[in-house]
């Protein structure tokens, strides 16, 4: 029997040691960027306590259905180039808290990894909660047979965030997960009124960490209220704001991922 992940060409995890750094944002924007390069992308949201992905695509009210091979992912657009699975779709009411201990979370993650009928995808992006605990251990274990491409680690520039992401790098090392690179998110804010740039969350910590740890630095993504607004409204930032500062950073990150995959094929 063909596994549900057999048609997925590349699996990417988006990790961070720290909460609130923008993993779900980066996962979403990376998916949109890859889609604009003509790829078919799925996003698996394994943040069971705080599932953010459905809302970022305005599909938070959708239901999921079952088919013979498992759950049918939710398609966000007509051409079916982006599909999602998240516990967010399984909640009766959006404010329902998932108050589960580890073992129950692990069981659902195993199901999510094995039982979603993704079909053929170029990329499956796995968005995770912050930390190095049940969800992460279970996800990596469940994905191991499918040989993930690797992990992207997201941090904000300041030392308090980098401090946790260093531990996430150790997690990757210990679990044999390749680190594709580090993204320094919320890196600088350009005032829309006067264009002055302020480093609200400091600057440079992500790049320094990448250097120190010997992993690629994928780039800085600035704070961009247009990006925040798009995400809030579930719109396609990549399509709507190609001139924004965040756009070029995100497109560059996507290109580096594509370069890794073409290196792999050759």
């Amino acid at each position: 029997e063909r596994s549900n992940l057999a048609g997925v060409r590349h699996i990417l995890l988006v990790l961070s040691g720290k909460g609130g750094v923008g993993k779900s944002t980066i996962s979403t924007e990376l998916a949109l960027s890859l889609r604009h390069s003509g790829k078919k992308v799925g996003i698996l949201d394994v943040d069971l306590c705080g599932p953010s992905i459905p809302r970022m695509f305005s599909v938070q009210d959708n239901d999921v259905h079952q088919c013979d091979s498992g759950w049918v992912p939710v398609f966000v657009n007509q051409d079916k180039s982006i599909s999602l699975m998240s516990i967010g779709f399984l909640l009766e009411k959006p404010d329902d808290a998932v108050v589960w201990r580890g073992p129950k979370k692990n069981a659902l993650i195993k199901q999510f990894v094995a039982d979603v009928a993704w079909g053929d995808l170029d990329f499956l992006i796995v968005d995770t909660p912050p930390g190095t605990s049940d969800e992460h251990i279970s996800t990596v274990e469940a994905l191991r047979p499918y040989k993930p491409l690797g992990a992207i680690l997201v941090t904000t520039p300041q030392a308090v965030s980098v401090g946790d992401v260093r531990r996430e790098l150790t997690f990757c090392k210990k679990t044999g997960l390749r680190v594709l690179g580090i993204v320094e998110n919320m890196s600088g804010f350009v005032c829309p009124h006067c264009s002055e740039c302020t480093n609200i969350f400091s600057k440079g910590g992500g790049e320094e960490l990448a250097k120190h740890a010997g992993v690629p630095f994928l780039g800085c993504v600035p704070l961009d209220p247009q990006l925040s607004q798009s995400l809030e409204e579930g719109r396609d930032f990549i399509q709507e704001f190609p001139k924004s500062s965040a756009f070029s950073a995100l497109a560059c990150i996507a290109q580096q991922i594509l370069d890794v995959t073409s290196q792999q094929s050759s």
Binding site: G20, G131, S228, E232
Partner: protein
């Protein structure tokens, strides 16, 4: 007399923010000694038990719960006025355990932190429901990163736009107090990274004024609860 307990086991940030990186925990006859920032501020965190800043705590729930139990049972805090417990994001093992282990004593309540945008509020509503489910009183909500004033032109920008009314609307809808809003100030991140007190370094900042007002409201809430209990 204040105790700060950091139960974010995978991402222990408190030691760095308090300028206590590299400190170790000492054991004595009466248990584990907290690490003191000042005479009246003691701290405990898994960060003090790790030998390197690269060490990862890759533990499943049961092991995390075990350490939280130890922290609550074996740390010799002495007489304290306030025990502040910093938690990781979520509604899982750490949160269930700390509420469970403290159920024999009295938890005054929880302060819930959000940022203004819906993607944050979405999760915070779940956190509020968690508190209600486990009968944890809610002191109130703090809206953090609430607006940024450009240091050059002094215009305000909503970096995390409150497209659905921010914490204010959510608090109205869910009948919880809004304790206050804290604006973004680049000095906050800097102070935390240096392990210095932002309140001391930037006493005139609007963010400091917000913090102080929120803290006062929390103290008033706690004093009131005590008073109510004593009169009963």
């Amino acid at each position: 007399q204040v105790a700060l307990l950091d139960i974010d086991i995978c991402g222990p940030s408190i030691p760095k923010m308090m300028g206590l990186e590299g400190e170790q925990v000492h054991q004595s006859g009466s248990g584990w000694s907290p690490v003191y920032v000042e005479e009246n501020l003691g701290v405990m965190s898994v960060g003090f038990l790790l030998s390197s800043p690269d060490d990862a705590v890759i533990w499943r729930g049961p092991k995390k719960n075990g350490l939280i139990k130890q922290f609550l049972r074996d740390v010799d805090w002495g007489e304290i006025d306030y025990l502040v417990v910093d938690t990781p994001p979520g509604t899982s093992d750490e949160h269930l355990s700390v509420v469970q282990y403290l159920s024999a004593t009295r938890i005054d309540g929880a302060v819930i932190v959000t940022t203004p945008q819906e993607v944050s509020l979405q999760d915070v509503r779940k956190e509020i429901n968690f508190c209600r489910k486990v009968k944890l009183p809610i002191i109130g909500v703090v809206e953090n990163m609430s607006g940024f004033v450009c240091p050059k032109c002094k215009n305000e920008s909503q970096i995390f736009p409150p497209t659905t009314g921010g914490a204010e609307k959510m608090c109205q809808n869910l009948n919880v107090s809004l304790l206050g809003k804290v604006p973004l100030d680049p000095q906050i991140g800097k102070s935390c990274d240096k392990g210095q007190s932002f309140l001391s370094e930037a006493p005139e900042s609007p963010a400091t004024l917000s913090f102080r007002s929120i803290i006062q409201r929390i103290q008033e809430y706690c004093d009131q609860r005590h008073f109510q209990e004593e009169t009963i």
